[in-house]
Symmetry: C2
Subunit: 345 residues, 2 copies
Amino acid sequence: MRTIEWRDGVVATIDQTVLPDKEVWIELRDIGEMASALKEMKMRGAPLIGVAAAYGLALTAYNSKVESREDLLRELEESAETLRMTRPTAVNLFWGIERIVNKAKETRGGAQKLRQTVLAEAEKMADEDVDVNRRIGKHGSNLISDGDIILTHCNAGSLATVDYGTALAVVRVAWEEGKRIKVIADETRPKLQGARLTVYELARDGIPVTLITDNMAGYLMSKGFVQKVIVGADRVVRDAVINKIGTYTVAILAHEHGIPFYVAAPTSTFDLSKESDDVTIEERDPNEVTFVRSVRVAPEDVEVMNPAFDITPLKYVDAIICEDGVLSREEFQRLAEKGTLGTAP
Amino acid sequence: MRTIEWRDGVVATIDQTVLPDKEVWIELRDIGEMASALKEMKMRGAPLIGVAAAYGLALTAYNSKVESREDLLRELEESAETLRMTRPTAVNLFWGIERIVNKAKETRGGAQKLRQTVLAEAEKMADEDVDVNRRIGKHGSNLISDGDIILTHCNAGSLATVDYGTALAVVRVAWEEGKRIKVIADETRPKLQGARLTVYELARDGIPVTLITDNMAGYLMSKGFVQKVIVGADRVVRDAVINKIGTYTVAILAHEHGIPFYVAAPTSTFDLSKESDDVTIEERDPNEVTFVRSVRVAPEDVEVMNPAFDITPLKYVDAIICEDGVLSREEFQRLAEKGTLGTAP
């Protein structure tokens, strides 16, 4: 299920806020529409956010009437700034922006040439994402045994990427290889990406999935119902994995029950010059907690906390699965220190 | 906030399923209406369920037209059976039933005398519950320091009891004693007792409360935002505490962060002839997970697990606060083995 496409001057994407009720494709025509769609989480998931940012800059280039190279670079920089304000935590946003801006700067020629280059680079990033995800799936599948029940949190599937997913790529490859696996999906409050998106896309592929509320994971682990945990990541820093709120809790539960906890993430999610203390955890609208979709679930005026992400220290992570292979915690730490990981543009 | 009352031949109670939108009192006229109200969780919370069961039998006695003692005892036994089918996990249900049935059996005299006795005993149990809760609050408050932020799960408040609460009794007494505390309430999916009920009753009392989704507790603990955890119990057995789904997860999180985890429960919740393996964990309707109140949140036909309770082994419980005092884990274990605890009728 490809989630984002360039269609003759517009970016087409699935509005994920109305899933699973309807699969509605929307068209984004300029950087303002792209920024709003990101802020409102019509698109979400770190890898998809990165590619969406690239396409956002392609929209700016495509729409621009300027004739000089310098003017176009200035417009791209303005659009980049608009995009940087949308979601602070997923590093792919910044990675996608930098890659496009750097590519434009490096390209010789005038505005017209840069326009073509920017769009071509965005398209290339989208295709690469799919390829990277398939490689993640292939590597990760080696960790999965026939009969495993795999718990996942949030949605690290097709809908979090251009296609195929990260954590769910591992599930997909294992399934395609004939392993009889099942998935347990945490519903993932407040935005219910597990209930709405993970269940939707796995059911669509015919992969068995069971939905639970977030607070059931510990009990199911204690009853032996979970053999592996795989989640995605919004940012992997030197000492921790930053991912959807609730990931840290699942990691501690897995640790306590001796269940392997894996993170599946492309190297575009790695940000190894940073530590967890350097990362801004996005705090979102309290109404996401006091309402479930359109229905109020708490008294008015209640004080709410709504951090969108949390921080899982590496000690709870058994391995990180990236496109280059499965990195055990120790291997990851060694490579991160050597500075030979996450050197993507 | 008294939650249940005998009013001239009917039992009046708050319909908790429509809180916090409206405070609606409903009147239950016979054992069938009482059983339905329990099954649909219009009343919930172990101590309240116990007293409601007693009042249910009082309704049977009050409505009965029989003239012989034996016929009334037979009707009471039939009603007891109806009540036993409503909720399998909270032991107070069985405790409340046994206490009324035994009282009726012990009472000399005819049907009319038994009718009076049964109602008087139900009223006595309701009053005792309030008294017991105040004692729990008093003992538990000794564990609370000025400035503590206390996390609680589900609702172990007035609305889970006849009045005052168990876990929230501790909060109330600490607050009344002038300790500047705050409460963090887990929303407690699927039925949202935390968001709907705990927030409602604490806000009503002017006690500061912050609402979070269940999967945020770990992150807040890691950031130092939680000093104590206090929850209620549906049943305390020799080796574990059985309480609302998600309690086990919170207990592990508290353990991992070195935060004290306390259970506040009256001895009517103790069932020390049993171990956790003996207890039936109620599995409820999948629609509770796939819908939030009236809104669908997951694709149709998805497979769901919906255990209403989980099991927290004693090793994660620092102390149990009952009406007789604060029992450390070791003390509780010693007394449980000696058989000198939980000997209520």
